[in-house]
């Protein structure tokens, strides 16, 4: 334990900054092909210019409606997708354009927990092999060592050792998500991107998995990017929360600030839309009209202005930039 803490202190004093991850002006577009020659006729602007940073040991929550680009952002950071523009600094290294061997090396330090525990585990593989695969890929360990390590991991995520010899279909949703978490932990990564890890689970099981993720974060010094559409889950898990709308980050702040004092009209609507589990609480609800516009043809100016109850003339002309309006509270809105 002591060596670990010494190592950590060294890290802090050395050249490395406080931020594990820094994203600047990141854009990820999916090309739309059309016509006889299948030329690119347009772009789905899934992530359109977002910037944020995650400190070491911190959890950043990312919320927004479906189709707002949360998952694309997560996948781009992991470099499962190629960013169109911008830069990703991970642990002081620019990983925006790396490929091949150096990309493979960096994969060890960042892992993902997927949404659907039914689809993200190979049904033909034993659970032991599923968890061992990342270790096997990156280190030369003997079979016995490998097995011992998998057993430890199973133990850590609260699964019995017999699970090693079973297949994914023999487990319930919550247990499968535990397997997925064990797999993502196998290489002791620095950053875990959890993309809607609990949205497929029942509330009772959801709380088990959330508690587990919190425990593991403490034990392994993990940094999380927690993507979800459920604001109350995100608030429970995160230190800071970023709100996305149509590929843009509209507000980012400390979790208590964002809840107590949401500044962006979209964040206000999002928070007011959550049904409160208390019948005595009567909330003033802001109901947004219409649907999220298509990211192929996003509205001019502020992407939210067609649905915004407070839209001004300026909003349809110029796009607001994310700026700090209060200490550690950034918002992209012309009102501020």
């Amino acid at each position: 334990m002591s060596t670990v803490s010494v190592h950590k202190n060294q890290e802090k004093t050395s050249s490395q900054s406080k931020n594990l991850l820094e994203i600047q002006n990141l854009k990820t577009y999916y090309p739309v092909k059309g016509g006889f020659f299948k030329r690119t006729v347009g772009n789905v602007k899934a992530v359109d210019n977002i910037s944020f940073e995650i400190k070491r040991g911190e959890t950043l929550g990312l919320v927004g409606e479906s189709g707002c680009g949360k998952s694309t952002a997560g996948r781009t950071i992991l470099r499962l997708l190629r960013p169109t523009e911008g830069s990703i600094l991970f642990d002081g290294k620019d990983i925006t354009r790396i490929s091949g061997k150096s990309l493979r090396e960096i994969r060890k330090d960042m892992q993902m927990v997927f949404q659907d525990p039914y689809a993200s585990l190979n049904p033909m593989q034993m659970v032991g092999d599923i968890i061992a695969e990342p270790i096997y890929n990156f280190s030369k360990k003997s079979k016995a060592e490998l097995k011992q390590e998998v057993m430890d991991l199973l133990n850590k995520v609260g699964l019995p050792e017999e699970a090693y010899y079973k297949y994914a279909h023999e487990f319930s949703g919550g247990q499968r998500q535990r397997i997925g978490i064990a797999r993502s932990l196998a290489l002791r990564p620095k950053l875990i991107i959890a993309d809607e890890p609990v949205s497929a689970l029942d509330v009772s099981v959801q709380s088990q998995v959330l508690n587990l993720l919190k425990d593991l974060q403490e034990e392994f010094d993990l940094t999380f990017l927690f993507i979800a559409h459920d604001l109350s889950v995100v608030k429970h898990m995160s230190d800071r929360i970023g709100v996305m709308y149509l590929g843009n980050m509209v507000e980012i702040a400390d979790k208590n600030l964002i809840y107590a004092e949401p500044l962006h009209p979209y964040t206000q609507a999002l928070i007011s839309a959550i049904p409160s589990p208390d019948p005595r609480v009567k909330k003033e609800r802001i109901i947004l009209k219409g649907d999220v516009p298509s990211p192929i043809n996003p509205p001019s100016g502020c992407p939210f202005h067609p649905r915004c109850p407070m839209a001004m003339e300026e909003c349809s002309k110029t796009k607001p930039l994310l700026k700090e309006v209060k200490p550690s509270h950034r918002v992209a809105c012309h009102l501020y």
């Binding site: 409606e65 709380s207 959550i274 049904p275 409160s276 589990p277 019948p279 005595r280 109901i287 649907d291």
Partner: protein
């Protein structure tokens, strides 16, 4: 509260008595819904909550007589709707009621609409089945219905196909189909689970509005306790095919009795509070084939379980003016036979 008093005097719209729905697995009947009784009064919104696999959906399918043929059947019990027992009706008789007096909204707006027919066709199908109207009238009515569920440009949408609409719009179309004949009872099975929070807020608002305008009763099945708190008058908590608690919404959230309800309420992260850990329920709902034979079905996951919980089956009893709980901790008329 005053409205609740006036509700008490009225005759119930739906009365489910000792309903048992069984599924045939390898020649043996397993009860997915076991001895469930409850009332729905006119203009009341009754919420049904519980984890997945608790029999919530099977119960609603039993009321609608939509159980998969040959596998599931209502074994015993009565479903009395407006004075008629739905469980004893023939297929052609029930077809006259289904979609007209009782209708249903399903969870998946993506899969519950037919992809090869236009929205208008699917809406008019219900109208032709139950009303004697001309094609022209049906089309006009379909457009009016789409408008009433808040769809802009209904004249256009009526000729479009489901894939051209977003999730929220499809759910609005489903609601339009369900309310086409102004049913007295609407069963909504997880109507907003597949939708985003902002769209969910729109749909819930719409359901409430329609319920008030049409004077309908609603059975709202959901696993989201926030939705229940917002919408319902009464709540039924189900666990493993049985009702474990039934009371009005305020009592449920502020004075829950059954350990299962308490745990379920503690498991949701709340925006207002900053607790570090959530309460969780160990284990999972037992599957149909390994239900405990005797005793309380929640006993093996219950932190307050006593030895007799594993042998004595608790009965749903009124413990406090209309607050019904099935738990030995609150049972007044102990002891009981250990047979169900």
């Amino acid at each position: 509260m005053s409205t609740k008093k006036s509700l008490l005097k009225e005759a119930p719209l739906l009365e489910v008595k000792n309903l048992e729905t069984a599924f045939d697995i390898d020649g043996i009947d397993y009860n997915a819904v076991d001895n469930v009784s409850f009332l729905v009064k006119p203009r009341q919104i009754v919420g049904v909550v519980g984890e997945s696999g608790c029999g919530k959906s099977v119960m609603s399918l039993s009321i609608m007589q939509l159980l998969p043929k040959g596998i599931g059947k209502v074994k015993s019990g009565e479903i009395i709707f407006d004075g008629i027992n739905l469980a004893k009706m023939s297929e052609s008789q029930i077809n006259k009621i289904r979609g007209k007096d009782v209708s249903m909204i399903f969870q998946e707006p993506m899969t519950s609409l037919n992809p090869v027919f236009t929205i208008g066709y699917q809406l008019q199908e219900v109208l032709f089945n139950h009303l004697k109207i001309s094609k022209q009238e049906a089309r006009q009515k379909a457009i009016a219905l789409l408008k009433s569920v808040g769809i802009s440009r209904p004249e256009k949408i009526v000729d479009e196909y489901p894939h051209q609409l977003s999730g929220g719009m499809r759910q609005r179309v489903m609601i339009a189909i369900a309310i086409a004949c102004q049913p007295k009872l609407l069963i909504a099975d997880e109507p907003t689970t597949a939708l985003d929070v902002t769209v969910q807020a729109q749909i819930l608002e719409l359901l409430k509005e329609i319920q008030e305008v049409n004077d309908m009763s609603v059975i709202l099945i959901t696993h989201d306790l926030g939705v229940v708190a917002e919408m319902c008058d009464e709540v039924i908590v189900m666990y493993a095919g049985k009702i474990v608690e039934r009371t009005d919404v305020d009592t449920l959230f502020h004075n829950p009795k059954h350990p299962y309800t308490t745990l379920l309420l503690g498991a949701i992260p709340k925006m207002e509070e900053t607790e570090e850990r959530l309460s969780s329920i160990q284990g999972i709902v037992p599957s149909l084939t390994n239900m405990p034979k005797a005793g309380c079905r929640f006993a093996n996951r219950c932190p307050k379980a006593m030895p007799e919980c594993f042998t004595v089956t608790p009965v749903l009893e009124d413990v406090e003016q209309g607050h019904e709980v099935a738990c030995l901790l609150f049972e007044t008329s102990k002891p009981r036979e250990g047979v169900r």
